[in-house]
Amino acid sequence: MGRTLPTASMLIQQEEQSFARFRRALRRSDQVALDDLFAAARQHLAAAQYAAHALPFEVLLLAMLLEEHKEVMRLRQQLDELPDASRNG
């Protein structure tokens, strides 16, 4: 008796494919950033699966946002660790 629903991994792949036209029209540098976002969302496949949300794209966006916020936190921490002099440029 097989699985009926697509897995989280398949769902992300489908969502990514559904934005193929959007991606194509982006500048190359923006395409790279977009790919990064999807790659970041893939870090949370297990959580996305477990969430069992009827609209997976919402979870996907949240996962992207989560990784972005982690990046902000990391940069903020690096900034805090810099000596005052270099912060003022």
């Binding site: 990064d36 893939r42 496949l45 297990a46 699966q49």
Partner: protein, 765 residues
């Protein structure tokens, strides 16, 4: 006059009206006994149709006792059935078939259960059981088992084993002689001249009178060949001990199992002796004869069937025996569809175990902890069975926790419990045995048989034709599994461990200062407390490397890693060496590199061993370039997954098959195809059934690429970690990678920096 015998039950099978059993008695006699016994099937349905069946049955020639009774159907509860007791069990099959043809609309139970399982259920015996038998004129009056299949160390059975193997793989070239071995005797028997060969083999069979004939390619080549020769020269061979029946030959077939296409070669089974073909025996390389015999003991399947088990057969046989003993009906066809649920509920239940993405890169001092046989454990602990009503998953109160309130154990856990217990007992015993204790190998083989049954039991629960399978039960098991894994994660985080990877039933955790088994005890106890499931420390890794996807270096993939435990042993998953299609030369190179690196006492000393690894790689490349690698070491072995005509673009395997077909050789989906990569068109050379090739044809560049890819899997993450510039410029790590940011990143700054950055990111949360 009655005679009382004790001995071991070797085999049971049907004759025309009674059952034949072979007993190896304590005087060393092989006794052929007969045992008449009745067997029943049941029918349910509208009263008028049952009455018609009753009338029809009483007019048949086959002797039956008919009655009306109430029995338990796992899915429907108590049902009223017409019980058809056939006086001579071997006649049941024919009568059942005719009944079904005549009254197809009725619901039938217990109709297609093999006679050996019925016998096992009725008398509590099993293959190799120690029995006491009361006989009169070789007819069994009573039979009693003196032991159970659950003993860890049953008294050894003095089986006479004759081993026959041809000097070469018959698919490759025609064998010239056979190697015959028994007791301490070993001799070579030429196949030509055929008459002399047959006479000699016959005399060995007569003189030694083996119980078990162990062959290589006996199912597919040797025995069919012997039967043919024996007929041709009119020289009967006593392959069977019993003369009442011929040798049983089963044709090869291809079938689907668990979504995979499987090819099962032809089979030759004997009567009065047993035949096992090592090349056609399930899991032979894993557990050998000891495992096969264990499989027969616990499943009650005759030894010759147990050796050729297909997934699901072992567990279903055990369930049938449990059901027969408990008077639970075994549906002929499972009728129950899924209980309706809402689409929202479906989204919540239709998923498997939780699979996390690991933190890519090299990590030190990692504890690997695993739930012990998680899914079977869940089935037993939480009483998961189709007939047991389910409470909401998420409540991990063990089913045995509330006596009186909880329904008695369902058929699925009832069947699994002793098996699980035995496996755990073997594991515990192995932990306590001295490393040089001679029982180790036997225990390991037996435990491995149990493990295989436990591994297949979960899939079987979800198998569409499983009589006691139910999608709800299958889903409940994974729901409990997810809950347990999340509770383990929470326990680990509460105890300040960071989590590097989680995979269905295992976690990889790390905490500064934790590097001995004692340091993980508190965590194990806490997880066990929160989940009611046993969890154990698989080991502490000196270091482990989690690998990214082959296609995209940014994306970690679950269950692709390698590492070295504190005792120096190596564990690998998902890398080339584990793949079945990797040529042995490449798999061996990869494992040898790991063995070199495993010499490092801790992760920080790894760079010291890179020169030795590189030297070894150089040596292997040299062997390849100079054509010194034996061709068999370069064979790629792949399974043909579909009909040749279904391949839209011919894969190398498909091209190899095409060559074989051109030579008139048949190959079926599910069968293995072995080939070499060669230069020029068509780029492959089929190994079996075609003319041999010479080393100069081998496409050594292609093998070099494959080798460097396998080498890169191991070496590159380590070089990256220690920020060592690669020595080999030709790693081919990501053949399919599209131009993307990582490549740019990798080009501009050492990738290790990027990975460190990712590692730090993860530690933030």
């Amino acid at each position: 006059m009655d005679e009382i015998l004790t001995g071991w039950l070797l085999d049971v099978y049907r004759e025309e009206t009674s059952l034949t059993l072979w007993l190896l008695d304590d005087d060393g006699q092989r006794r052929r006994l007969t045992h008449p016994f009745p067997a029943a099937f049941y029918a349910a349905g509208p009263a008028n149709q049952l009455r018609a069946l009753w009338r029809w049955l009483s007019e048949q020639e086959i002797q039956v006792h008919l009655s009306r009774m109430e029995r338990k159907d796992v899915f429907q509860g108590i049902v009223t059935v017409l019980a058809v007791e056939v006086v001579h069990a071997p006649q049941l099959d024919a009568l059942f078939r005719r009944a079904v043809e005549t009254y197809p609309d009725l619901t039938y139970y217990d109709g297609d259960i093999s006679i050996s399982l019925r016998y096992a259920a009725r008398f509590g015996v099993f293959p190799l059981a120690r029995c006491q038998v009361v006989v009169n004129a070789e007819r069994v009056k009573t039979i009693t088992a003196l032991n159970t299949p659950w003993e860890l160390e049953p008294a050894p059975v003095p089986l006479r084993i004759l081993s026959i193997e041809p000097d070469r793989d018959p698919a490759q070239a025609c064998p010239r002689h056979l190697v015959i071995r028994y007791d301490r005797i070993r001799y070579i028997l030429p196949l030509e001249p055929a008459r002399a060969f047959l006479i000699s083999l016959r005399s060995t069979l007569e003189r030694y009178d083996p119980d078990l004939i162990l062959t290589d390619w006996g199912d597919t080549w040797l025995l069919p060949c012997l039967l043919k020769l024996s007929k041709e020269y009119n020289l009967p061979l006593p392959l069977n001990r019993a003369e009442t029946q011929g040798v049983i030959e089963h044709q090869a077939r291809t079938y689907f199992s668990y979504g995979q296409i499987v090819y099962k070669g032809s089979q030759v089974q004997l009567r009065g002796r047993m035949h096992i073909d090592r090349r056609n025996a399930m899991m032979w390389s894993d557990y050998g004869l000891e495992g096969v015999l264990e499989m027969a003991r616990v499943t009650a399947l005759p030894i010759q069937d147990a050796a050729r088990l297909s997934p699901g057969t072992g567990i279903s046989s055990m369930q049938f025996v449990t059901a027969l003993r408990a008077n639970i009906l075994i549906p002929w066809h499972k009728h129950q569809a899924e209980q309706p649920k809402t689409a929202l509920e479906l989204i919540h239940t239709d998923m498997g175990g939780l699979v996390y993405q690991p933190t890519i890169g090299l990590h030190k001092d990692i504890g690997g902890i695993d739930f012990v046989s998680m899914y079977p454990g869940i089935m037993v602990r939480f009483n998961i069975s189709p007939e047991v009503p389910r409470s909401k998953a998420g409540d991990l109160t063990p089913a045995t926790g509330e006596p009186g309130k909880v329904p008695s154990m369902g058929i699925v856990p009832q069947t699994l419990a002793p098996l699980l217990e035995k496996r755990i007992a073997f594991k515990t015993a192995l932990g306590n045995l001295h490393p040089k204790d001679c029982r180790r190998e036997v225990y390991k083989a037996r435990a491995s048989a149990e493990k295989w049954l436990l591994v297949t039991c979960f899939g079987y629960l979800g198998y569409k034709n499983a009589r006691f399978g139910a999608i709800e039960s299958h889903e409940a098991v994974t729901a409990y599994g997810r809950e347990a894994l999340l509770r383990a994660k929470e326990a680990a985080e509460d105890l300040d461990f960071s989590i590097l990877h989680m995979y269905v039933d295992g976690l990889w955790v790390q905490k500064p200062g934790c590097s001995t088994p004692e340091d993980f005890q508190a965590l194990l106890a806490e997880v066990s407390e929160r989940t009611s499931l046993p969890i154990a420390l698989d080991g502490i890794y000196r270091w482990v490397v989690f690998l990214p996807s082959r296609v995209d270096e940014r994306i970690p993939v679950p269950n692709r890693y390698f590492g070295v435990f504190q005792d120096g042993s190596i564990k690998v998953r998902g890398i080339e060496a584990r793949r079945h299609d990797t040529p042995p030369f490449i798999a061996e190179t990869q494992m040898k590199i790991l063995a070199i690196l495993a010499k490092a006492a801790d992760a920080d000393r790894l760079p010291d061993f890179l020169p030795e690894a590189r030297q070894y790689i150089g040596q292997r490349l040299d062997e390849l370039a100079k054509g010194r690698v034996p061709l068999a070491e370069l064979l790629v072995s792949q399974r043909l997954s579909r009909e040749l005509t279904e391949y839209s673009s011919p894969s190398p395997a498909a091209r190899a098959v095409w060559q074989m077909q051109a030579e008139g050789k048949q190959i079926h989906p599910g069968q293995q195809v072995r080939f070499l990569y060669t230069r020029g068109e068509p780029g492959v050379h089929a190994w079996d059934g075609t003319e041999s090739t010479d080393i100069s044809m081998v496409d050594s560049n292609r093998y070099k690429t494959l080798l460097m890819r396998a080498v890169g899997t191991i070496i590159r993450p380590i070089e990256q970690h220690f920020e060592i510039m690669p020595q080999h410029s030709n790693y081919v790590l990501f053949p399919n990678q599209k131009a993307g940011p990582v490549k740019e990143l990798g080009g501009q700054m050492p990738l290790a920096t990027f990975l460190d950055l990712r590692g730090r990111l993860v530690q933030l949360h």
